[in-house]
Subunit: 216 residues, 2 copies
């Protein structure tokens, strides 16, 4: 059994959840929901598991704790059979990795910076060092990122090329978070991005991961 410390509806834990759904292994996972609005990740017990004090986190059978989303999704992809989410060849793996990192920087982390610094974020007890100018610069960066991925999707069906991969999951969860929490909507004129998003939303993994706990 794998223990998965989740916080449903946030992009990084949702990346893990959707990867687990794509592999069809949720029955092998114990899920613990952590409410970040209540600071449930700031306890000493959680800090001992993850000194970076971030969600998601997985704990393996032998007690090894793995944080950092890409490390977790790499572990999942190389542990469970089924669909390959991080590529087969060195070239394919590199392209997926690159596009996933761009998805983090241009969407997930950018909208996260806006949310944490230029909106109330998780609230005054949690957001201790807000920097409004930093947050606002990242709203611009997020919108640039949406335009970048729209251009990418004008010439290929998925973020990293011909096949669905972790890069799609990363961008998808970032856009969902953007619209749900800080209410930054994907511009309607980005039709390639919109069409791709509708296709990803139809996958059973996206449907299974959608619409559960709302902590706010």
């Amino acid at each position: 059994m794998l223990t998965f410390y989740d916080s449903h509806g946030l992009p990084n834990p949702d990346r893990v959840r959707i990867a687990l759904e794509e592999k069809g292994v949720m029955d092998q996972v114990t899920v613990k929901q952590v409410n970040l609005w209540k600071g449930e990740h700031r306890t000493e017990a959680f800090r001992a598991l993850n000194p970076s004090v971030t969600i998601p986190l997985i704990v393996l059978d032998d007690g090894t704790a793995i944080s950092e989303t890409t490390a977790i999704t790499e572990y999942i992809d190389h542990t469970f059979p089924g669909i390959r989410l991080t590529g087969e060849t060195a070239r394919e793996r590199a392209i997926i990795h690159m596009m996933q990192r761009r998805g983090e920087q241009k969407i997930v982390d950018a909208i996260g910076a806006y949310f944490h610094h230029a909106t109330p974020g998780f609230g005054p007890g949690i957001e201790l060092n807000q920097n409004k100018a930093w947050g606002e610069a990242h709203l611009v960066k997020t919108l640039d990122g949406m335009r970048y991925f729209d251009r990418v999707l004008q010439s290929q069906p998925y973020i990293a090329g011909a096949r669905f991969s972790m890069a799609d999951i990363t961008v998808y969860t970032g856009l969902n978070f953007s619209e749900t929490y800080p209410k930054v909507v994907v511009p309607r004129d980005l039709t390639a991005l919109g069409d791709w998003r509708a296709r990803i939303a139809e996958r059973p993994s996206s449907k299974a991961a959608a619409g559960e706990t709302d902590f706010t």
Copy 2:
């Protein structure tokens, strides 16, 4: 042949350079130095290769351009024989990946934020949106990161455990940059970190990558 767009002495390109040295394949690589102080990465030609406008970048034989350092070093590790820098088993790979990501966040990216935002960085023509408070918060974060890795190294010989890996290369290049450019020195009382650093500096890969071009 691989083409490697390098900027010697900066942590992310140095991660690629040291990985190539560890593999012993520099004779199969064409290196192009890019002077970031002169904005040589801001040309239209470079932006066409890498829309993220970052160094390092590699270009494969078939013209595929790969940016984002971890994507590049994963490619190198899975393409060339010799020492394995990113792990063998899923568990080992996850731990190395996690520790490398912590090395990025707590050292490389943190000292980079201080350098770009709270010091002149690459100079006024390049650093267009400085945020001094953000930079200064990341000096605190960098020093916290140094203390974190010192604690890690008190109980194991390398950043990710018993074996040398990409995680060591990442933290090592970040500390070198910290001392060379923004002149943030590793505190002397962090003896586990200091001893580890002296051992990494003795590796032929570190020696080969040290002390070349200084752009400033």
